[in-house]
Amino acid sequence: MKNTLEPAPNKTVNPERWKIGNLLFSQKTAPYLFIAPFVLSFLLFFLYPITNSVIMSFQEILPGERTFIGLENYSRLLNDHFYRALYNTTIYTLLTLIILIPIPLVLAVILNSKLTFARNFFKSALFIPALTSTVIAGVIFRLMFGQQDSALMNSLLIQLGFSPLQWTNNAYTAMFLMVALASWKWIGINILYFLAALQSISKDLYEAAAIDGAGPWTQFRRITLPLLKPVTVFVVTISIIGGIRMFEESYIFWGASSPADIGLTLSVYLYQQGFDYFDLGFGAAIGLVILFITLVFNLIQWKFFGLFKKEED
């Protein structure tokens, strides 16, 4: 053990080697070393592709040749299919926001209460759908909502005395299918976010409020909701992103082209143009428009939640 107190003999033998060592292990350079993996992967996998897609959106790309065509890809966006995709995406995003914010919030509050019966069972039951892949869930949904009278939903409708529906052939039921699939799948994740936030709210606040005579509703409105705001903003933001980039929920029902565009979303339109027709320049233009729309949606939302205001005392 006394050896440790002696200077290591080989440290002085080779000062040359330690020059590099100093560089790598010095306080000045180490931080750069630590962030290097992130910076490199960002440059390689994010910045380069984004820059390239901006360039591609001004080009017509054919095998063996690329030509600049100015804004033509963008002017081609002014067509019925794109409008329909924009409409569908907007409605879908709004509907998922309406369903996937309040309902998980209320469910999380209920699950967080000690009075709830078998709450651990319900927590996992509500979360399990999030673990299934959208594609597998979609296949099951497609079978349940098949067009035959013997498909599950249609046979239920018939039992209840209604006439069977062609679920995947009608604009309203199509939107219903996509929103239902997304809601079923994502509700558990949002509950998880809200539950985590609820558990970080101090019990003292509720006790103090109770002493001051506040009932459960007032406590919910005055304590729970305001303290959940940061996580609510986060959930709304990712829900908007998820809504606008939605692809699987539509693709699993109809593939890249749905009857009369009832399931066409912006991402499906990008896929259809980019990979079914290999119109890569046009696809890049659609992608950038999706990016822009997501940005605008979120800026509006942040403004609404007051994220640009200075903290008030």
Binding site: S258, P259, F275, D276
Partner: protein
């Protein structure tokens, strides 16, 4: 010290990995051929043919590596755009084939193996994989469109299928069937074009002309779409296909229970009957499709797979020779029928005893299957393809037929004009 060794080791590993591509095959890399296909049965077929090749040409053996690639068209397209990772040989589905002919095709011309044997084939099957007289793909089948009848239903209505020569006869027979059995005569697909396009081509028109210009709103197209509309809404002898097209689970169930008396599909659809509609065995028969008027073609070749050699092939001559052996030779064409149940494009073999053997299809559809084949052999047309084809098919499948035939919300003329106009605006 250990840190340094680890660091050096990692760097060495990274360098080693980045310099060892999958292509560094070594000295015998010359006779390695990679082949991509999207159908498991095709893969089995190619492996079988590779074995035969090695028996026949022991001095020029090949090592064939077949990969079944899902989403093949996308992956192949990307590797041809980027110039890396493409296989030597690949199967491409006919509807996405035009995407590969845009710009400067990244495929190797096959003229030197196609031209010597072309006359023995249904020649139009090469044209669909060609651009400006250069052939890029070898076909798997003709896909001759025929009419499948459910004999049991026809017998109940005392209709003799051999009396149905024209579409007028077909409509009359349909009314009889409807009256006696209450069942529809035929199903009209609304998200596929296997009724619409063969009818149009049969009468000498098409969605595109031979130069790739849009003819979708031509008079023949209009009359045909109107005729299909009449089948459903005027004569009331047809229904829109359950599930939208004849590959839907909904349709298989419907048809297997004797849902309709007839279906018009290409010959390769026989496999769907034997696989998915077992209860109809012995009840179905195959007859030529009816014609509109004298002089119409007896059949139209629909669907298909073009096999190509990519410009990344390491040994293009060997790849071409193997392709020629596996798809263009007489022997191959008989094997295509035996193993895959496709009507082989080298129609010269259709007459041969080696071809006309009993198999699971004659068992299912009866031995007169070959009579039907022979009767249409010399009068089979094929569609015109152009860079707009993939878009036109989507427009027809998902907009036009859906609106006109299923929703009945647009008149045929209005729908055709709208679709044709949109396509013309995209033709650059």
């Amino acid at each position: 010290m250990a840190k340094w060794i680890a660091l050096v080791a990692i760097i060495a590993l990274v360098i080693a990995v980045s310099f060892t591509g999958p292509d560094s095959g070594g000295a015998d890399g010359d006779n390695h051929l990679t082949l991509w296909t999207f159908v498991e049965q095709h893969a089995e077929y190619y492996n079988e043919m590779a074995e035969r090749w090695n028996q026949m040409y022991p001095d020029r053996p090949i090592v064939l590596q077949v990969e079944t690639v899902p989403d093949l068209s996308n992956k192949l397209q990307l590797s041809l755009y980027t110039g890396v990772a493409a296989p030597d040989i690949a199967d491409i589905e006919v509807n996405s084939f035009p995407n590969f002919l845009r710009g400067e095709p990244q495929l190797i011309p096959l003229n030197d193996i196609v031209e010597p044997v072309k006359e023995h084939f249904v020649e139009s099957r090469f044209d669909i994989y060609s651009k400006d007289g250069t052939y890029y793909g070898a076909p798997f089948h003709v896909g001759a469109t025929v009419m499948y009848y459910n004999k049991e239903i026809l017998d109940q209505a005392q209709v003799n299928p051999d009396d149905i020569k024209t579409w007028d006869d077909f409509v009359e027979a349909g009314k009889q069937v409807k009256q006696d059995t209450g069942k529809p005569m035929i199903t009209v697909d609304t998200s596929d074009f296997m009724l619409f396009q063969p009818l149009v081509i049969q009468q000498g028109s098409d969605f595109l002309d031979e130069n790739g210009e849009v003819t979708l709103d031509g008079p023949v197209n209009l009359q045909t779409l109107q005729f299909m509309h009449d089948l459903i809404y005027k004569h009331e002898i047809a229904v829109p296909t359950p599930g939208g097209q004849h590959h839907a689970e909904e349709y298989y169930g419907f048809m297997n229970q004797g849902g309709a008396a007839a279906i018009q599909m290409p010959l390769w659809y026989m496999g769907r009957f034997t696989d998915f509609m077992p209860d109809l065995k012995g009840k179905m028969i195959v007859r030529p499709m009816p014609i509109m008027k004298e002089g119409d073609a007896k059949s139209v070749g629909m669907g298909g797979t073009g096999t190509v050699v990519t410009n990344q092939a390491k040994n293009p001559e060997l790849a071409k020779d193997f392709l020629s052996f596996a798809k263009l030779s007489k022997e191959a064409n008989i094997e295509i029928w035996k193993q895959l149940g496709f009507d082989p494009p080298r129609s010269e073999v259709w007459n041969e005893p080696a071809f006309q053997q009993e198999n699971k299809y004659t068992e299912y559809f009866g031995n007169d299957l070959y009579d039907t084949l022979i009767s249409i052999k010399d009068d089979i047309r094929s569609p015109h393809f152009g860079s707009l084809s993939p878009r036109i098919y989507t427009a027809v499948n998902s907009q036009l037929q859906f609106n006109v035939l299923r929703r009945n919300s647009q008149a045929p003329e209005e729908a055709l004009n709208k679709a044709a106009e949109e396509m013309r605006s995209l033709n650059r």
